[in-house]
Structure formats: C-alpha cells, structure tokens
Point group: C2
Chain length 196, copies 2
C-alpha cells in the first residue's frame, strides 16, 4: 500500500502518524468517540484513510494510541471471557489489579481518571469508548445484561479510587491476594446472570 500524500506535503511516515494522532485527539475531544470516523480523522490529518488503517487498523486502536492508553481492550477481552465461566470474577479481579500494580500502566490510567473526573469532554470520550470497546463486547461474550457488566466494573473502579487515588488504609497497602479474595466473589456474582 502506498500512502497517498497531498502535493506539496513532504511528511514522512513518522510525521504522518503524529499528524493522524493529533487530528484524532482533536476530533475525539470535539465530537466524542462515536461520531468520529476513521475517514474524518484522515481528512483532518490530510492523509488518505487507507494510511490510518495501515498504521492503526481500527478506530479503537487510533483512540488507544491518541490517548496513549496503556491497554488494548481487544487484547484483554479474550483473557477475560476465556476460561471457566465460574472463575470469570477472579479473572477480572486479577487482570485489573495487575494493570494497576504496574506503574507503566497505572500512571496513564490514573491520568485518564483524573481528566475524566474534571473534564466533561474527556468523560464523554471515555464513556463512549468504554461502551463501544468494552461494554458491548463483554455483554455479548458473557451473555449478561449490560447493567451487570457496568455494576461489576464499578466495584473495580471504586477499588482503584480508594486504593490508588484517595489511598485509604488498610486498602492502599493491602495484599493483592487478600483483595482478590474479597472482590472476586462479588464480581462473579454481578456477572452471574442467574443471581437474584
């Protein structure tokens, strides 16, 4: 595939990639995740849409790269929904805690929580991205109502708020295995469609 470039522009691949990400950040912020298309990002960056697909593949991946998110939902989902159905709560708890244990993933996630909490545009982007890239696929794969998925996620989000943002003891320094023991059954319960 030969990237199409406008006459007079001499951007190399690195510059094009950077321009695509800058354009994506502007559009996601202005229009939100849902209303932003790969075609619009390409137009804003003055490159061919094929180049955006070449660099990133999907809109989800442009978003992850543009916001420098340390996770790729498309790669995490198989880990969550694969394996025994009655251990899905534990898999959620362990994966989530591992992402937050590692400073390389924790720092950008913390930055995102801080932005989404204080900036309505960021909150809207995050909301639409969570819904499209995580909530929908998870609800489909697990066969439970979306409300249950969001409620399960809320247990994990609150854990992060009190452990890493407000740093309330004894949760802030609690052993990860002890947290898994407390949290996994609760996530499991939320994700069991048949629980009352």
């Amino acid at each position: 595939m030969t990237p199409t470039r406008r006459p007079g522009r001499r951007a190399g691949p690195t510059e094009s990639r950077g321009e695509i990400l800058a354009a994506a950040r502007r559009l996601f912020a202005e229009r939100g995740y849902d209303a932003t298309t790969v075609r619009a990002i390409a137009q804003e960056a003055e490159v061919d849409a094929a180049l955006v697909h070449h660099f990133f593949g999907t809109k989800e991946r442009v978003f992850v790269a543009a916001l420098e998110l340390p996770i790729q939902p498309a790669e995490l989902l198989p880990q969550l929904v694969g394996g025994p159905r009655d251990e899905v709560g534990e898999r959620f708890a362990r994966l989530f805690l591992a992402l937050w244990r590692d400073p390389a993933t924790r720092s950008p996630l913390l930055a995102l929580i801080r932005s989404a909490t204080t900036n309505r545009q960021v909150a809207a982007m995050v909301r639409q991205f969570i819904t499209a890239a995580m909530l929908g696929p998870l609800a489909g794969a697990l066969g439970v109502p979306r409300l249950r998925i969001v409620t399960a996620a809320s247990q994990l989000v609150g854990l992060v708020m009190l452990r890493y943002v407000i740093e309330v003891e004894p949760l802030a320094s609690a052993d990860e295995e002890e947290i898994v023991r407390l949290i996994a059954p609760v996530i499991q319960r939320h994700l069991d469609a048949e629980s009352p």
Copy 2:
C-alpha cells in the same frame, strides 16, 4: 459563654465564624485532618478555642462546615448501624443513593470527588477524615475489619463514578430500586464478617 476577643478586633459572631472556617480550611489543607486541632484553628483565627467549640462542637463538624460538606457522618452512622444486621447492606445502598439523588447533596459531593482526584492535599484531607470520622466508628459498631468496610465503600464509590461522573449507560439512568437489588447483597457480603 462569652467569646474572647483580642483588643482592637471588633469581629461580630458572623465574622468570627467565617474567620474560624477560613482558618480551618488553611490548616486542614496545610497539615491534613489528623494534625489539625481545634486549638490550632482557634489560634490561627485569633479567637478563643471555646468559641470554636461553641460554634461547631467538634473538629469533625468544623471540617464538615469548612469544606461545605452536605453530610454529617455523626448523624448518618446511627442510621447505618441501627436496624437488623442482615439488612445493613441495603441500608448502606439506600442511604448512599439518596444522598446522590438529591442535587443539594450531590453537587458538593461531586465537587469534593473532583478535587480529591486532582489535588493531593485534598485527597489527604479526605482520606484522614474518612478514616477518623467514618471508617473507625463503622468498624467498631459493626465488628468487621476495616478492610471490609473500605471494600464495601469502594463498591459505592465506583457506582458514583460510573453513574454520576462518567455517566455510563445503562447505569446512569438505571432505576434506583434495580441498583439496590444489585448492590445491597454485595455490600452485605462485604460487611458480613463471617463470609469467606
């Protein structure tokens, strides 16, 4: 009780109250909740400590007034721990949802979450206040380890984050009774000391 005033100062009761709150805000922000005493607040406000007690009673109440919090933990605790032990999860869920349903309490609580998420000093104040005024008394009254109380609280905090801050559907517009049905058993489980 006659308020003691320094010679040359002519502050009336309203001015004194305002000065006490301004002094309290400065000290809580500089030193945190734990290290700030009623005596130090009085000294900073240049009034007698008896006047602080006269207006507010306790350090906890000075904090609530200084940060314009819409709740008095000392008044909420009896509602939570009173009543059947096996309905404590439902009482937590209902009280919490009621506080967040009412815009008069929701707005200042949202403002506090936003500040605590982005400002380390506010986070420290909130952390110490939660620990001293809520966590300690609740753990004592319910006879469960503090880690369980914080974990129960994390379910409620995460609920608020996704329902009111990020506004993820279908949680954002879910019926309150439906949320209680999903959340109350989970809070109950966290607060049952004998659960595995």
